[in-house]
């Protein structure tokens, strides 16, 4: 029950989110990966707030992260919907228009 344990859990969350972003072709899958990564950062912040002299500031930042995540989710969902409207698919691999 040390700081390291929490950090380890956070690391697993982070790696999972990154893997999601790497492997998922579904746009919402990528979005979920981002959520996981944010969640890991949040966990990290709270753990440091608990175990170090960071104090209440860590929790404040964690709160900000949560809010940002919510906002990001809303915008990303709207983007995904637009993407779907334009491409009739949610495959992010289709979104390589700028290459051509």
């Amino acid at each position: 029950m040390s700081l390291g344990a929490y950090l380890a859990v956070s690391a697993v969350l982070f790696a999972s989110g990154l893997t999601c972003m790497m492997t998922k072709r579904h746009a919402l899958g990528v979005l979920m990966g981002v959520e996981l990564i944010l969640n890991s950062a949040c966990l990290n912040l709270i753990a440091f707030a608990r175990y170090t002299s960071l104090g209440i500031d860590g929790q404040v930042f964690a709160l900000f992260v949560i809010v940002i995540a919510a906002a990001e989710a809303a915008v990303a969902l709207a983007i995904a919907l637009n993407y779907y409207n334009n491409f009739l698919t949610v495959d992010v691999d289709r979104g390589d228009e700028l290459k051509r």
Binding site: T23, K24, R25, V30, D93, L98, K99
Partner: protein, 775 residues
């Protein structure tokens, strides 16, 4: 006060615009005449307003005109002016619009209204109105689609036809009047110059009105070019003045009461006097060699040259001695145009300007002007007395009278000169319109030898022309006065003024007595030729030509202007030199500069006169002039009226002189031989040089540059373009190869980024083991 200017401008615009009207209608003429009528009424109204607003001067002048003769008038006027606090020179000066501003130098468009301006407005609009109305009849034959020009040189058997140019005529006439009014109104030499050129241009249009005739074309071109010769001098003088004085304004801006605003720039007379005082060396250390060089780079000679340059413009416009030949040729225009050109507008502009700028003229320039005037006076009179063409007589007479005016300016009596200008405008336009009447009714017959005995047929014309002739010759009944007035027409008074000015001048400067003698001789000749003209026209028993039997008077539009003008020619100078007109003129002109009444001048040692001197000799001069005029009249009467002496015998005895005069003193030949032909030859040789030398050189240059550009083009295409093409294509290929790396797949980017992070951390740990903090 100013409101009456604008309607006239509007009328002029309408006048110009109505070119679109039908050729057949008389509407343009009526429009032009109506606009002139409105303008005339407005200017009359303004003149009345002017007199009303200056009660002191008016009272003084009227009192002096009726009761106190002599010198008292000036004193009364001065006293009145001092009592009411008015400046002796009342003048309304203002600016409308600043044309350009270069540093300190401002070129505004403005106005300067004083009594002279108002007077000139009335004069110009009246005469122009008379001419407009007169032309309604005279030019009526232009209201047709096919006008037959009888004076055109054409092969026999066919009569060339052209569309009438009635509207054209009135447009040009309106423009002409407008330009002249602009000159009168302008404040500042630049503005005067603008309208000056406008006058020249519109006179070019009018003189060349019958431009199908070769003579008319040549005459208009001659008038234009002669004026340009003078205008070169004008521009030079303006430039010198601008450099030395820094302004071209004639009068400083101030309101009606003469209160100059504090920040007003110095006007030309003051600046000029300052410049003169700067360069003229003082009395004690005066050396003759000091005159030309000066400290500031402004030499006395330069200032003299400025005056001479301005005078050259006046001389050209007023057809004076070296440049006088265009005026006689200007007879090619329609006769009403001649009346306008010779009386109120074009030639008057020169004299008017000369009087306006008289304070700027240094003694040398004035003396030269006086001699120019004298020479012109004698030349014109001698030419007039032998001329056979009716209009030519009048033209030469105009030249002569203008010379008289310039002489007046030259001897310092510019009030008298302007006075004579006004009276001359009246009687000369009267004479021209009368001549036009004769010409019109006799179907374009201008030869004096063929005309004659028309008095019975043209009673009104003959009467009015008699008035004009008497006014022109300055005749009067000696020593008879009615109501304190000497019995004489306008020309008598004004000529008396000039003669007295010349006489006073000569009395002060006895070695210039030639001036006085010439003036008297000129007066004698004037009386002679004017009376000759009238006698030849009207006094013969029967017409020589039987075709003239059916001649009768023209319609009322032709005769009424004659009557009106005759009235003014007779009575406009009522009161003589103390009369209303003369007083107004005197009140508006600039006073004599300080050095003017000073003692002796260094260079030409002229003793200048002032008004009191002139008044002192007035009686004597008047008597002398009158005697000369009566002498001339008697000679003419003897020659042509009584035929006591056969004119043929006299002319036979004086054959060389007559021939010389009738060939206009061979000035045209002289100019042709000495100026025109050499210039033509020069032009021809220059053209030859152009063709032979310069053209091949230019061609060679062009060919060389063409070859060079071909080579350059080859170099461009082969070397430079290819180099850049290769570079661009290589960059393109590189970019294409790089493009393959950009898959556009987001997941792949994330993967690579992750990989990069891992590798970076591994490198960090591998190379920085000291970063570990714990065991």
């Amino acid at each position: 006060m100013l409101a009456w200017l604008l309607p006239f401008a509007g009328c002029v615009v309408i006048t110009v615009l109505r070119l679109k009207l039908s050729r057949l209608s008389a509407v343009p003429g009526w429009i032009g005449t109506g606009s002139l009528l409105v303008a005339f009424c407005l200017s009359l109204f303004s003149a009345g307003l002017w007199l009303m607003t200056s009660p002191a001067e008016t009272a003084a002048s009227s009192v002096s005109a009726e009761e106190t003769p002599g010198i008292q008038a000036a004193k009364v006027g001065d006293d009145a002016a001092h009592e009411t606090g008015y400046s002796p020179q009342r003048r309304l000066v203002g600016h409308w619009y600043s044309l350009a501003k270069f540093g300190e130098i401002d070129f505004p468009l403005g106005y300067a209204i004083d009594a002279l301006t108002v007077l000139m407005f009335v004069l110009v609009t009246m005469i122009s109105l008379a001419v407009h109305a007169y032309s309604l009849v005279y030019m009526a034959d232009e209201q047709t689609e096919s006008y037959q020009d009888h004076h055109l040189d054409h092969s026999p058997g066919e009569t060339p036809e052209r569309p009438g140019r009635f509207a054209h005529f009135y447009a040009a006439l309106g423009l002409f009047t407008f330009a002249m009014l602009g000159i009168v109104l302008a404040n500042g030499l630049l503005q005067i110059f603008i309208f000056w050129e406008l006058v020249g241009f519109s006179s070019y249009l009018l003189i060349g009105f019958y431009h199908e005739r070769r003579t008319a074309r040549l005459a208009s071109m001659k008038a234009f070019l002669m004026n340009r010769v003078g205008d070169v001098g004008f521009v030079l003088g303006m430039t010198i003045l601008l450099v030395t004085c820094g302004t071209l304004l004639l009068y400083p801006v101030h309101d009606l009461n003469g209160n100059t605003s504090g920040s007003a720039p110095m006007a030309l007379p003051e600046a000029f006097q300052a410049a003169v005082e700067k360069v003229v060396p003082s009395e004690e250390n005066h050396q003759p060699t000091d005159l030309l060089p000066s400290g500031q780079g402004i030499s006395y000679a330069l200032l003299v040259a400025a005056g001479l340059g301005l005078l050259a413009g006046c001389v050209g416009k007023s057809a004076q001695f070296p440049l006088h030949t265009w005026l006689a040729d200007a007879m090619e225009g329609p006769t009403p145009v001649s009346a306008l050109v010779h009386s109120a507008t074009m030639v008057a502009a020169g004299v008017y300007l000369a009087a306006r700028i008289a304070p700027l003229l240094l003694p040398e320039a004035l003396l030269l002007l006086a001699y120019v005037g004298v020479v012109t006076l004698l030349l014109g009179a001698s030419m007039a007395i032998v001329a056979r063409d009716l209009k030519l007589v009048l033209a030469h007479s105009t030249i002569s009278q203008l010379g008289l005016m310039l002489l007046g300016i030259g001897v310092g009596a510019w009030e008298a000169a302007i006075f004579h200008l006004i009276t001359h405008a009246f009687f000369k336009s009267l004479l021209f319109l009368g001549a036009g009447s004769v010409i019109h009714t006799t179907h374009h017959e201008q030869d004096l030898e063929k005309l004659g005995g028309l008095r019975a047929h043209l009673p009104l014309t003959s009467l009015t022309m008699l008035i004009g002739v008497i006014a022109l010759s300055g005749l009067a009944v000696p020593y008879v006065t009615i109501f304190g007035e000497s019995l004489g027409f306008s020309g008598f008074h004004s000529k008396d003024a000039i003669v007295s000015g010349a006489m006073a001048f000569v009395l002060k400067n006895p070695h210039h007595i030639l001036l006085l003698i010439s003036v008297l001789l000129g007066a004698c000749l004037t009386a002679a030729y004017s009376l000759r003209l009238w006698l030849k026209l009207f006094a013969r028993d029967t017409p020589v030509d039987p075709a003239l039997q059916q001649v009768h008077e023209g319609p009322w539009l032709m005769t009424w202007p004659l009557v009106v003008l005759a009235f003014f020619a007779a009575f406009c100078a009522l009161g003589g030199e103390e009369g209303l007109v003369s007083t107004l003129v005197e009140a508006s002109l600039s006073p004599a500069p300080a050095w003017f009444s000073g003692s002796t001048d260094e260079v030409v040692s002229i003793q200048w006169t002032n008004a009191s001197d002139r008044h002192a000799v007035h009686g004597t001069a008047g008597a002398m002039a009158l005697a000369a005029a009566w002498l001339g009249a008697l000679i003419a009467w003897a020659l042509y009226g009584l035929r006591a002496i056969s004119s043929k015998d006299l002319s036979r005895q004086l054959t060389p002189l007559v021939r010389l005069a009738s060939h206009r003193w061979h000035f045209d030949t002289l100019y042709r031989g000495f100026l025109v032909l050499p210039i033509l030859n020069l032009a021809r040789h220059t053209a030859w040089i152009d063709r032979i030398l310069i053209d091949p050189f230019i061609d060679g240059c062009a060919r060389f540059s063409e070859r060079f550009s071909h080579a350059s083009q080859w170099f461009d295409e082969a070397m430079i373009n290819r180099f850049f093409d290769n570079m661009a294509s290589s960059v393109w290929a590189w970019g294409l190869s790089l493009r393959k790396a950009q898959t556009g797949h987001i997941r792949q980017y994330v993967l690579l980024a992750t990989m990069a992070v891992i590798v970076l951390f591994l490198i960090l740990f591998a190379w920085m083991p000291g970063g570990r903090a714990g065991p």
